[in-house]
């Protein structure tokens, strides 16, 4: 197999990691909506954690995307 085709396949496979990001972010905001539905007064306390959780979950998925870019453009 040529290197260029192998790179394309590798980059595509590496992007499967973003599934985890999607599930994780969904989990975080589902928890946020659930907790705010039970106790709307907690919004000031819970919302910073929701944003922190979103950023960390997104970052984990983007590690996979960084590998995809690494495969495509560096090696």
């Amino acid at each position: 197999m040529e290197l260029a085709s192998a790179k394309m396949i590798g980059a595509g496979l590496a992007c499967i990691a973003l599934v985890g990001a999607g599930i994780g972010i969904g989990n975080v905001f589902a928890a946020l909506i659930n907790s705010l539905a039970r106790n709307p007064a907690a919004q000031g306390q819970v919302q910073p954690f929701a944003f922190l959780g979103f950023a960390l979950a997104e970052a984990t998925g983007l590690f996979g995307l960084a590998i995809a870019f690494l495969i495509l453009f560096v090696f």
């Binding site: 960390l56 970052a59 983007l62 960084a66 453009f73």
Partner: protein, 243 residues
């Protein structure tokens, strides 16, 4: 006029003023220019904003004071009063990353934090600094940080290497998180802009997606600066309080 369709060309570093000292290339690049603009803007905001400080603040003074309060609040709730000794460092770190991320969103501008070497330099400073603070504060007792309380001796053989590994991976996750977010965001914007450039009438659709992406990128820019700063505070808390 050729349409620039390669989405990663926006990340190339161009020399504005070529300079060589000995064998080293120390040219003034577009990255250096953006960093200079970031520093000038932050200085202008904080110095000029509080120049004629009134008890009832005007707009700029409000913004300067709110950013101070935001970082001070973050340090005091995550590190405690002892953390305020490191306030200047964390404030500079937060404001630099925030302004660098936001300035990169201007069309035809350059995102300083989209290069791994920049984010790794920041993360390495944080990691080395926090480790040194831990050793200065606790001496060799700091190594107890890797041995959690109440764990049966058998599990320690497995747990301590895992704890050490997850400690040393901190500068890498810290830098790659910021770098990958900026890279991915700006690449997406460039890709959809490329679609819009070649579609003619139907360009309204990728343009609409780009608008939503830009809103997301504004959120991500501020959020990533906040996450970098708060993780620095948490690592600092680990070093000072060792829990």
């Amino acid at each position: 006029m050729a349409i620039e369709l390669h989405p990663l060309h926006q990340f190339t570093i161009e020399r504005i003023v070529p300079l060589r000292i000995g064998g080293l290339d120390v040219s003034y690049t577009n990255s250096a220019l953006l960093m200079t603009i970031v520093v000038i803007l932050i200085t202008a905001l904080t110095v000029l904003g509080t120049r004629r400080a009134a008890l009832v603040p005007g707009r700029w003074q409000s913004v300067a004071e709110m950013s101070y309060e935001f970082v001070a609040d973050m340090i005091q709730s995550n590190v405690g009063p002892e953390g305020m000794a490191y306030f200047t460092f964390i404030f500079s770190l937060f404001m630099f990353i925030l302004f660098a991320n936001l300035l990169g969103l201007i069309p035809y501008s350059f995102t300083v934090t989209s290069h791994i070497i920049v984010t790794f330099a920041l993360a390495a400073v944080v990691f080395v600094g926090v480790t040194i603070i831990g050793f200065v504060q606790h001496g060799l007792h700091f190594l107890r940080f890797f041995v959690p309380e109440g764990v049966p001796k058998v599990l320690l053989l497995l747990l301590v290497p895992i704890e050490v590994l997850s400690y040393f991976i901190r500068p890498f996750t810290l830098s790659i998180r910021l770098f990958a977010n900026m890279l991915a965001g700006h690449t997406m914007l460039a890709i959809f802009a490329g679609f819009a450039a070649i579609l003619g009438v139907f360009a309204i659709f990728p343009l609409g997606v780009n608008l939503l992406l830009l809103a997301l990128e504004l959120l991500v820019a501020t959020l990533q600066a906040y996450v970098f700063a708060i993780l620095t505070c948490l690592y600092l808390n680990d070093a000072i309080h060792m829990h």
